[in-house]
């Protein structure tokens, strides 16, 4: 699946998007954050406070316990500050 990062999550990780293939044990958004955090220092830094991170699956806001199976695009970003 495609993963996208925005704002300081993107800056900390250093890339805007990538394709990932997490193991089948990674079932929820929360699981995915945990798995991504193990991929290196930049990831660990971006996700150091997982409660602050917001997520969207296929362009819709989701909660940390949302299932990721079937998702084409998952995005991670800080709380929004538009308007």
């Amino acid at each position: 699946m495609k993963v996208k990062y925005f704002a300081w999550v993107r800056e900390r990780i250093g890339i805007a998007e990538e394709m990932v293939e997490p193991p089948t044990s990674v079932r929820t958004v929360d699981d995915l954050i945990g798995w991504l955090s193990t991929r290196g220092e930049t990831y660990a830094y971006a996700f150091e406070k997982p409660k602050v991170i917001r997520a969207a699956i296929d362009h819709t806001h989701v909660k940390p316990d949302a299932m990721i199976s079937g998702a084409r695009e998952i995005a991670f970003f800080p709380p929004m500050t538009g308007g």
Binding site: A7, H59, H61, F77, T81, G83
Partner: protein, 154 residues
């Protein structure tokens, strides 16, 4: 009404032109409310040189449309426009425009407030500020979440 107009763009907008687009040649519009959000010259007392707005294009379009659809179903509107700028914006420049038209004023005021509360708290846009101390991401404000929550139907 037909669908709302939603535009995400780097260019500035022209309020008079946007009002004309919703009112010209028709006689069923009695009330037009506009909200323009403008870049201020300081944030929490610190002077800033500019804001840079990042967004998640596909999601922003879809999410704003979901909310303009909701506004149109909740209030009897004759027109609705949302323009959100992205990119680098300096103090005094426009950031966002919401425009709601209706036969009567309450619907227009409510729809414009609803959309602004939504955009502040839930639309996928992020502001980075440039100041003397370098660049930093603006933090979300808890009371914007509270403002957005008051529209949730129980």
């Amino acid at each position: 009404m037909s669908a709302a107009t939603i535009r995400i763009q780097e260019a500035d907008f022209d309020i008079a032109q946007e009002i004309a687009a919703l009112t010209k040649g028709r006689s069923d519009v009695g009330a037009v409310v506009t909200f323009s959000g403008i870049c201020r010259g300081s944030e929490n007392g610190e002077p800033i040189a500019a804001l840079t707005l990042e967004h998640y294009p596909e999601m922003a379009e879809a999410e704003i449309k979901r909310h303009t659809d909701e506004a149109m179903s909740r209030w009897p509107l004759t027109g609705l426009t949302v323009v959100h700028r992205v990119g680098r914006i300096t103090p005094g420049e426009n950031i966002v425009l919401v425009l709601a038209a209706s036969a009567h004023r309450q619907a227009a005021f409510q729809a414009a407030e609803f959309l602004m509360d939504y955009l502040k708290a839930n639309a996928p846009f992020w502001k980075r500020e440039e100041s003397q101390n370098g660049a930093s991401w603006i933090e979300a404000r808890g009371h914007d979440d509270a403002a957005a929550a008051r529209w949730t139907k129980s």
